[in-house]
Amino acid sequence: MSDQFSEANTVVSTVTPVFRGRETLVELTRRLLSVGDSWAAAGAPMRLGEILLVDDGSTDGSAEVLDQLELEHDLVRVISLSRNYGQHPATSAGILHASGDWIVTLDEDLQHEPEDIERLLGRAVAGSEDVVYAAPSGHVHRAAYRDLASRGYKRFLAWATNNPSVREFNSFRMMRGSIARAAAAVSAHDTFLDVALTWFTNRIASVPLGLRDSRQGTSSYSVRRLISHARRALVSSQTKWLRIGALLGLLSLVCAVVLMVWLVVQRLLAPDFVQVQGWTSTMIAVTFFGGLLSCLVGVLLEYVSTLVLGAHGKPTFFVVDRRRDAELRPYFGK
């Protein structure tokens, strides 16, 4: 079988941010290594190059487990962040330390099955996709209301960010290495990594997988964190809201001009309509300067939106090479 496929030139890296993984890290690592071994045994054209575990300021003793895993396994590498930065920054840190042609991110808690990595990769090379997300095919959480809330939340984000891909976002994702590294490189602290990925590619797909939240404790995502999550997604996505502000400013000026004209006409044609002395001139002055200020703020917001887009790191262009996907297709076509 090993003669059928090309040499294992394609390297896959895994990245897992760790915060409370003391109970699951050993099993996760064992299963990841097993996936790599199965590829080697099958003579697959890809190989597991490294398992990157990012210690994101863990507090449950995960650090000791990580150190032990790194000592025991050559493929394991631990990146220790100086403090807790959050899942997206930790994931970005891991991605930026990865050398793989393909990078897969998965959670520490075994909600994502390492054995499904091959399915994500197969989908990616079949359609020359750059990002493939795991899509929950059934219930993820034990409580049905959490599944409903999660779907509703993503639908709202898709509308607010004007980005339909938001619905597919999942922390179990397979990404083309060059795209992943580019997105991670431009991601600032408040950037939503998945939004940054959409700046570099629109070849995004998903694979239905059975994802199950088998954690015993509560989720680390409180309502406050979910709101913060949404805020980051909105701010990262686009400058639509700045543009709306700019448009409102312009509209204010137009309305101000119309109102001024109406006030002048009214004063000329019906001078007795308003008895209060100086009312018309005061209203004209207020309307004029109010409209002018609104318009100037609008212009300012337009420039700010340009700066924001530049600060986000949204590229003017990016180059990608997908030709090597063809080397892997025969393996997945079996």
């Binding site: 050559d74 050398s99 590294r181 180059v319 990608v320 090479d321």
Partner: protein, 305 residues
């Protein structure tokens, strides 16, 4: 060539002979000066007639600094050859290297001697990813072959009494004194300041391992002065972090004194990644991250101006 001696009369006599004043040679020289060493420059003729070089080195042996010493350290940070060098250019460097090795062997004498040489992990492992201690060097061009042959020559020519340390470096960046060859990052910063476009052989997504010259110099000097060369060893002084050209540009843009313009020149061989695996570098080695090192490099350039 520079001959350094400790400025403190209380310290035992431990002269350091440094070959090369390029990117790394200059960094090592600066590190030695920081530690209280005084250097004396001795001009020698490279790439010319080997006999002439040998005669010049013989005169150096007679310097007062090298007499009655307790310990001699010889550091090879020289070599005009680069990634794009031809076979002939590499042979010239090899001839000079051989002459220096022979001189070191003669100098060894009764005092302890250590020989440290810089090699190129990039040249030896070109096109390989996640290089580990088990990876086999497989050079693809004359430059890589040269480095492998230099390492072998050092093992063959130097007596067992000379402790030899080979430092395999990845893509080094820092500030080299002109007219020495500048690294990519220094060139990008300088061209940004001058409004020029930098030509890069490779692609936006090409991965390299960037390591700062200051870290390397600090490590080599500290290790050599501490008498850490007890046995022959090969050390990888690499960052252990793959960095794409895209990431380098993203890091440089806010720091450059002008827009960073690049043009990618097609090169069939250069787009291949070269990265290093966890654990390949020695215990205690802690390289500065790219962003911080670039800031330090940018600050130095601004201060000089």
């Amino acid at each position: 060539m520079l001959v350094f001696e400790s400025a403190s009369a209380l310290k035992h006599r431990q002269p350091v002979v440094l070959f090369g004043e390029g990117l790394l040679g200059a960094a090592v020289a600066a590190e030695l000066r920081l530690r209280g060493f005084r250097g004396r420059r001795i001009p020698i003729a490279w790439g010319a007639d080997s006999g002439r070089l040998a005669r010049q080195l013989k005169k150096v042996s007679q310097l007062d600094s090298l007499q009655g010493r307790d310990h001699l350290i010889v550091l090879w940070c020289a070599g005009a050859a680069g990634f794009g060098s031809s076979q002939d250019e590499c042979e010239l460097e090899l001839a000079d290297f051989r002459t220096v090795l022979e001189w070191t062997a003669e100098c060894a004498g009764s005092a302890a001697t250590g020989f440290g040489m810089l090699s190129s992990a990039g040249g030896l492992y070109e096109g390989q990813r996640l290089v580990s201690s088990r990876s086999v060097p497989a050079p693809r061009r004359p430059y890589g072959e040269l480095k492998l042959r230099e390492e072998d020559l050092a093992k063959q020519h130097l007596p067992v009494s000379v402790a030899t340390r080979v430092y395999r470096l990845s893509t080094v960046f820092g500030e080299a004194p002109r007219p020495a060859r500048q690294g990519l990052i220094a060139v990008l910063l300088e061209n940004a300041r001058l409004g020029r476009t930098t030509l890069i052989s490779g692609e936006l997504t090409t991965l390299r391992d960037f390591v700062w010259s200051g870290d390397i110099a600090q490590w080599i000097v500290r290790e050599s002065l501490a008498g850490g060369w007890s046995d022959a060893a090969v050390e990888f002084l690499v960052a252990g972090k793959p960095t794409s050209i895209h990431e380098v540009l993203h890091v440089l843009e806010p720091l450059a004194r002008g827009p960073v313009r690049v043009q990618f020149v097609p090169d069939v061989s250069n787009p291949e990644h070269i990265t290093f695996s966890p654990g390949v570098y020695p215990s205690g080695w802690s390289p500065t991250d790219l962003a911080t090192a670039v800031v330090r490099l940018g600050c130095r350039r601004t201060t000089r101006r």
